[in-house]
């Protein structure tokens, strides 16, 4: 019996796109003086439509699809950063979203201080942060640079720190959004290996990627998104085929 980790029920997500919307009082007054009381045009952009999907505990899902098709939006809906327009998304267990590496770091603080800030943003306690801090520093291989302000970090170093933080906290569910594109090959491989280990220890992983090799090597399930919905959900080998035929 498989237990659900993430459940989508008839989820639809729309964004409102305003055209010619007045952002200032001056433009409102200017418009009112022409006796035009209709402020801006609102266009609804439907990104995802009626998604029904269940990710099970222990799944390693690779999500593929063209740019702008709503893969990141999907992850943000799971992370409760966005709210569904209709329908719902329910998650079971603790969740760590890694949508952009280095997001939430305070440039003036040191890498070490940022471990605590980031942990608290992800919803972990001081105790948990103290417990994991050393392992995070070790895994990141930043050594003494951990005590430098983050603004002096290269993007590769930000990747190292960001990934190390996410990988070491005790979550049941990890979301990764194309984050492994940066960083040198050695560390990229180390990250994938770590994700693989996390999966092996029973965690649920959702990975957005454009790299068929990653999907083939690590995922047990592949989801392809196209035209506001799921067009394929199944074995990675077939999913990669569906994805590559789109181009």
């Amino acid at each position: 019996m498989k237990t659900a980790a993430i459940e989508f029920h008839h989820l639809t997500k729309e964004f409102e796109l305003w055209h010619d919307r007045p952002y200032s009082i001056k433009s409102i007054v200017a418009q009112l003086s022409t006796f035009n009381f209709k402020f801006g045009r609102r266009e609804k952009l439907r990104i995802l439509e009626n998604i029904d999907l269940t990710v099970y505990k222990g799944d390693f899902v690779g999500i593929m699809g063209r740019n702008g098709v709503g893969k990141s939006t999907l992850l943000r809906l799971i992370s409760n950063i966005y709210r569904p327009t209709s329908g719902s998304v329910v998650t079971h267990g603790r969740l760590i979203p890694l949508l952009e590496l280095g997001a939430g770091f305070a440039a003036e603080l040191t890498g070490y201080e940022n471990i605590f800030l980031n942990a608290s943003i992800l919803g972990f306690s001081k105790k948990e942060a103290e417990l994991k801090a050393q392992a995070i520093v070790d895994f990141s291989e930043l050594k003494e640079k951990i005590n430098q302000p983050v603004r002096a970090y290269s993007s590769g170093m930000l990747v190292r720190l960001g990934f190390s933080i996410a990988a070491h906290f005790n979550a049941d569910l990890l979301l990764f959004d194309e984050i492994l594109a940066v960083g040198d090959v050695g560390f990229q491989e180390k990250c994938l290996q770590k994700i693989h280990e996390l999966h092996a220890s029973g965690k649920t992983i959702v990975l957005v990627t454009h790299d068929p090799q990653q999907v083939a090597k690590y995922c047990n399930r592949c989801i392809v998104i196209e035209k506001q919905g799921v067009v394929f959900d199944g074995a990675p080998s077939e999913g990669i085929g569906v994805y590559s035929r789109m181009f």
Binding site: S24, I25, P97, A106
Partner: protein, 259 residues
């Protein structure tokens, strides 16, 4: 019912708020020589200038005038410096879409940082009381309560404006202008009794009016604030808090999703 309130005040995210406040303080004062000492220095200096002008040039007749100015200026500085951060949600728009950081947490942390500055500048007030040869009477026990209500009033106003700023960028220019009027429409430099009697009732229309008058009553006159005044102060605070909460409920996700 309790759920939204817990989320609104981030009661389940205390470590997050603690870290955000810590970050604010560190970022603000790193590389500055006087550091936190500035929070004592700035109100003391501006009170000195106002005292020179209003006491020696304009010859305002208010007993213990320097203390009178300080007791109003310190909370006013807290109010204006909070509102000066009204860009906090808009400026972090991109970040809010990438990490699970609720927008109200950013605002709350900013608010608490400023409130901490207020608390840290209170020693000046005590020194000033002693320098004026005034006693530290029991009526001062009202101060923490009044400061707390001030905190809610300021935080709510700040939240409303920082969420509003996402949609109306004019607030950046409008707010300082209104605050400039507010500074003279609120009893800070003068005493409530100096307002002509027939207009004194109008002070209730200013959300900060009786609040700041109460600071004078507690610190300078050292008397118990009448219950009717408490009523007006609490009333305004409640109205603003409810408004802020309602607005938060309405746009909490929209401010993040706005394209």
């Amino acid at each position: 019912m309790l759920g939204p309130i817990i989320e609104y005040f981030c009661l389940n995210r205390k470590f997050l708020i603690y870290n955000l406040v810590l970050r604010n303080l560190k970022v603000r004062y790193r590389k500055s020589f006087f550091g936190l000492f500035w929070t004592l220095l700035i109100p003391a200096c501006s009170a000195g200038i106002y005292f020179l002008v209003f006491n020696y040039i304009l010859k305002v007749q208010v007993p213990n005038y320097l203390l009178h100015i300080l007791s109003g200026l310190i909370p006013w500085a807290y109010f204006t410096s909070s509102l000066a951060s009204l860009e906090v949600v808009a400026a972090n728009h991109e970040l809010l879409g990438k990490i699970p950081l609720p927008p109200q947490a950013l605002v709350l942390a900013e608010s608490l940082t400023h409130f901490l500055n207020l608390v840290l500048s209170l020693p000046i007030l005590i020194i000033a009381i002693l320098l004026h040869d005034l006693p530290l009477s029991l009526t001062l026990l009202q101060y923490p309560l009044l400061a707390l209500i001030l905190g809610f009033t300021v935080h709510s106003t700040f939240l409303i404006l920082s969420l509003g700023y996402v949609y109306f960028r004019d607030l950046k220019y409008l707010v300082p202008l209104v605050l400039q009027f507010g500074f003279y429409l609120t009893p800070i430099m003068y005493d409530i009794k100096m307002i002509p009697e027939q207009y004194r009732g109008l002070l209730g229309l200013n959300p900060m009016g009786h609040l700041f008058s109460a600071f004078h009553k507690i610190v300078v006159a050292q008397e118990w604030v009448p219950l009717t005044d408490w009523g007006i102060i609490l009333g305004w605070s409640a109205v603003l808090s409810l408004l802020a909460f309602a607005l938060y409920k309405k746009v909490r996700y929209s401010v993040v999703e706005l394209l």
